[in-house]
Amino acid sequence: MAGGTEAVAHQALEMTDHLPVLQVLIPFIAAPLAVFLGVRSLAWPIACAGAIASLVCSVVLMLATLDGSFISYHLGGWAPPYGIEYRVDAANAFVLLLISATAVVVMPFTKASVDAEIPKKDHTLFYACFMLCITGLLGVVVTGDAFNVFVFLEISSLSAYVLVSQGSHRDRRALTVAYDYLLMGTIGATFFVIGIGFLYMATGTLNMADIADRIAGQGDNRTIQAAFAFILVGMGLKVAIYPLHLWLPGAYNYAPSAVTVLLAATATKAAIYVVLRFTFSVFQPEFTFDTNVLYWIIIPFALLAMFAASLIAVFQTNFKRMLAYSSIAQIGYMLLGIGFFNLSGLTATMVHLFNHSITKAALFMAVGALVLRSGSTFYDRIRGMGKSMPLTSAVVVIGGLSLIGIPGTAGFVSKWMLVQAAFELGWWWMALLIVASSLLAVIYVWRVLEVLYLGDTAEGAQHKEAPMMMAGPMWVAALACIWFGFDTSLTLEASRVAANGLLSGNAGMAPVPTTAAGGGH
């Protein structure tokens, strides 16, 4: 730190070196900052600044890992496996980007909908919880330490329970669903931590890469098998794999609109990421067990979700609930990609993670705007809103088409990859099942479109377009749905690199990290 210029250069280098931790730290600091400053009008700007800063981090991380390399960061300078390692490769950089970009895009929407749905005195705490939730999700994704995953998972879940319960200002039932969510989420977390415990028992380490090294070739070890089962079921609850989904429709339905958008677009995606990471980087089924485990466990549940949840969605009369069931069905597609266990399949999962996230963000924001004007999400209350809210309804059309997977939308790209993966395996019947389930999507999407455009105008609704603060973000998401239906250079490329990384299994402990990291509180 002697020479001035040298110091600057050194510090600049340090900033980029610390990106993995800054990614998590920035929103983590934004949360208490908003509370302790005590100025209500500053809470939203602080949250915004935090979200934007973490987006910048994730963009840089994505660019750094697109070549297939990974960044290993040693928290507090303690080298793994003793210290906590943050490890960023294309797979989690992609999910980090997804989470932080969603957070930024929904921020203006959040302000408008929070102003409308939540009493003023709770605003500061709401934004604090919001940022904590984002912190947890980012943390889950960035960390390379199994126990750390659990810690961040709980940070995000606990704040999510609080956020969902905030819906009680509009409908008291939000409290019971938040309680449901709390119970199920805690059971899930408990299972997960039991699984981690077994792993620790078997290997004596918590670093994921280290675990992977130690359990390779020990597939017949009962402890490890039990660990896998506990982790899969525990995360299955968080992901809302059908039939472990019971908390999801209620939580999505009664949560404040902004919270539904956040949870739908990011929370389940982070959980899917954990499933991917543990399945492929930690347990590595092709070395540890038979790949048949995936075929026989994951694929049937994926198909069940695709058909059962879609079928339930068809019969809903509440827009938000319908979308919730559709989310469960779409999670089935992502699981199916995992179950295929080939490059195209995993690419489909990764790309659908992204595409479904922007699609659902657009749709849930549109729902939020409809709630603002009509006061309800039931079909008979939003009838004929297509005429009075053309911008919002157009977003529903675009999002709906993307959900079905009509070409020219993001959803088409994912469906294409998934069907292609099925054909590459020679499973033509699976290809037919995939397209058949998307026919169910046609039905549930079209029911809403008929309600919006062809119904007589409902009584008692305000016939005004949504405010710009809502319409703007939802259009950004809707245009993204179209954009990523044509330009797949980011999404497919990143997904392919990520899938390649995941399929190549454990990258091993990193004696010489690609980026010199460490040091420095």
């Binding site: 079905i404 070409p407 294409w416 292609q420 290809a431 397209v435 046609v442 079209w446 062809l454």
Partner: protein, 489 residues
């Protein structure tokens, strides 16, 4: 100008018309005039393309790569150029007609109607110029989605139900079967480009060929091959200009056009002829032709009868592809243009009768010919062209198809075509005969006058077009030659 620019403009002008319709929602005259100008300009662009490319094949115009080795791209070739000319050429005429019809009938929601209409045309032109199956599929689905609001236009229970059937069949077949076929083809060959001689030759064999062909043939729901034809009669709840341009020309022709493209450029007629994979399809098409004709006879509602007639006539084109001979393909291609002009005339006449008299059933139309001579004359000419009598355009395509069937040695196909001609006579001519020559007892002519000029001029123009096409038939046949290679069938 560059071909690429012209192709973009040909798609852009209809899109622009859609935007202006929404933008000037409160100024009907300005809105309709701008749309008409766009129609003229779009047609001019396509004539410009014709001028540059002729019956050749242009360079590929790539927009963006979506999947590995799969682009959104355009390429001009004769079959597509013909379809684009038909669709956009008839758009201007139909637009004039639609103005008269929509105003004369006091229909609601004009901006939405014309906006969706224009998007549908843009989609049809996009289909025509697609360089590969992915691009074609994109515009194919856009066409379905953009025409759905037109079918549901009236918003009453019947329209909503009709639109549901429409959507269910078209989206259902395309998403479930066509998409599967497309991705399957892609995994087999690594490409979806439309290539002379087909891309599947040498990549598939045995039983897969007919199965894949089946996925395509039934997946292309717009071709209305039985049993996936129900959407077409259902779509008749739409206002008549929609039935005329979209459900006699753009949408259905997009279907059979895709069918021909798949036959010629994906499978290749040699592969189909060598493996005999399309023989079953010929039987299905023949069945579709005959059955739909018989059903048409039984319908008293004029638009429904015409719809079943369309189902039957679309079978001709599928049959032409299934024959897998050069003349069969050419006849099919020719029939796209010939049937388009004939059928649009019939539909526009049906709409004109409705505007003037509010009559929809054939049995009520007795004696109307005396007061509506222009409409009935046009109907007569259109009907004769559909039947395939000289000196009208329809005779060329039917002749080419029969030659194609003879080349393939398929007597059954020839028989189906002949029988269908007789059935055409049976369901089309009585309409004219009753209207023009019979006198009704309850004198329906009281207070009836010819339809407004905007409604009866366009069918008169297309009727003259049917006549003109007879004299241009040989030229069109030469124009299409490069599609099947240079030699004569």
């Amino acid at each position: 100008m560059d071909v690429a620019v012209l192709v973009f403009l040909a798609i852009l002008f209809p899109t622009l018309a859609s935007v202006t319709n929404m933008a000037y929602r409160n100024n009907p005259n300005l809105r309709d005039s701008v749309t008409f100008v766009c129609a003229i300009l779009a047609f001019a662009c396509i004539l410009g393309i014709l001028n540059i490319v002729g019956s050749g094949i242009s360079e590929e115009i790539v927009l963006t790569e979506v999947f590995e080795g799969l682009d959104i791209a355009f390429r001009v070739e004769p079959l597509g150029l013909l379809f684009a000319m038909v669709a956009s050429g008839l758009w201007g005429i139909t637009h004039v007609y639609a103005i008269g019809y929509m105003r004369g009938n006091n229909e609601k929601n004009h901006p939405r109607f014309f906006a969706c209409f224009s998007i549908a045309i843009a989609a049809a032109v996009g289909i025509a110029f697609s360089a590969n199956m992915l691009t074609l599929f994109l515009f194919y689905e856009l066409l379905t989605v953009s025409t759905y609001p037109l079918v549901a236009h009236k918003g009453n229970a019947k329209a909503v139900y009709g639109a549901r059937v429409y959507l269910a069949v078209l989206i259902g077949t395309s998403v479930a079967l066509l998409l599967t076929a497309v991705i399957w083809t892609y995994t087999l060959t690594g490409t979806l480009d439309f290539v002379q001689g087909g891309i599947l030759a040498g990549k598939v064999e045995g039983r897969i060929v007919p199965i894949l062909l089946g996925l395509y043939a039934f997946g292309i729901g717009k071709a209305a091959l039985m049993p996936f034809h129900k959407w077409l009669p259902s779509a008749m709840v739409a206002p008549t200009p929609v039935s005329a341009l979209l459900h006699a020309v753009a949408v259905v022709k997009a279907g059979v056009f895709t069918m021909l493209k798949v036959g010629v450029y994906i499978f290749g007629i040699e592969l189909l002829a060598d493996t005999g994979a399309s023989e079953w399809l010929m039987w299905v098409a023949a069945y579709s032709i005959i059955t739909a004709s018989i059903v048409a006879i039984m319908h008293d509602n004029l638009k429904r009868r015409l719809a079943y007639s369309t189902v039957s006539q679309l079978g001709y084109i599928t049959l032409g592809m299934a024959l897998a001979t050069k003349m069969g393909i050419l006849g099919g291609g020719l029939h796209i243009a010939m049937h388009a002009l004939g059928k649009i005339t019939l539909f526009m006449c049906a709409g004109a009768i409705y505007v003037a008299t509010r009559k929809t059933e054939i049995s009520q139309m007795t004696g109307l010919g005396q007061t509506m001579p222009v409409t009935f004359a046009a109907f007569g000419i259109g009907a004769l062209s559909i039947i395939g009598l000289p000196p009208l355009g329809g005779s060329w395509s039917k002749w080419a198809l029969i030659v194609g069937a003879a080349d393939a040695g398929q007597l059954i196909a020839i028989f189906a075509l002949m029988l269908s001609s007789i059935l055409n006579v049976a369901y089309l001519l009585p309409v004219v005969a009753k209207g023009a020559f019979l006198k009704s007892d309850d004198n329906p002519c009281k207070g009836v006058r010819e339809a407004p000029l905007f409604c009866c001029l366009p069918p008169a123009i297309t009727a003259v077009g049917c006549l003109a096409l007879f004299f241009w038939g040989g030229m069109l046949l030469d124009f299409l030659q490069p599609v099947v290679g240079d030699g004569h069938g």
